[in-house]
Symmetry: C2
Subunit: 135 residues, 2 copies
């Protein structure tokens, strides 16, 4: 152990890099590279629709088959030990949507769980106009 | 600087603790403690409704006035230098909704920007039943 009162960031750096490559390899449709980041028994969840995909193979197929000319770009990656979150700018042709994605990594630095949120636009409820500005 | 090739985690630990207290003090309606975490010119954004609140004072008022018997619990906090993300379990009486919240901190460890996403439930689109299970 290094003689300093800090947690080694090797694990955090490895996690951050795995998430960076996850987004980039999906954007590039490089399924081999994406698959190499994942444990074989990884689990992917979309809590908004209560959908779960089990296993690397099904998850890669899900991405391969996902319709539309979709594009992903990281707005921010936050890594912390074996956990991370990614704030993603997703576009399908001219439609834009942000995603919030939560990651868990295995002992050996592979992604073992991904939880994806796709928040939709909504109209602000009444009663807070005195506090907010719109953009 | 400590003699090791790692980034000191003091900043990350401070960020993680600020986010923990942010959630806890909101849950406790301890507005003084919540305000003490924030820069005076902090900005709060809800991209789904394109709403922005400028300043600690208006942000505290927004929380004070927020209707319903709401409760917040951290599911996960991920901190990374001056950035963090929180995955929050929010409840209003029996209604449950997850939130994804992104934080930026100032030089002196105060929260200076908060971006809140409130993803809603949706029905899964057709065409992926062969890959997913529901819960």
């Amino acid at each position: 152990m290094p003689p300093c009162s800090v947690r080694p960031v090797d694990e955090t750096s490895r996690t951050r890099e795995a998430v960076r490559v996850y987004i980039d390899s999906a954007e590039q449709r490089d399924w081999q590279r994406l698959g190499d980041l994942l444990t074989e028994d990884m689990v992917y969840e979309m809590p908004q629709s209560r959908e779960r995909i089990r296993g690397r193979s099904a998850f890669i197929q899900f991405n391969r088959e996902y319709p539309g000319d979709w594009h992903l770009q990281a707005r921010r990656i936050v890594a912390d030990g074996r956990h991370a979150a990614a704030w993603i700018d997703a576009r399908v042709t001219t439609e834009h949507q942000d995603a919030c994605v939560w990651f868990e990594l295995s002992d050996d630095g592979l992604i073992t769980r991904v939880v994806d949120y796709w928040p939709e636009s909504y109209d602000p409820p009444p009663g807070r106009e005195h506090l907010v500005e719109r953009w």
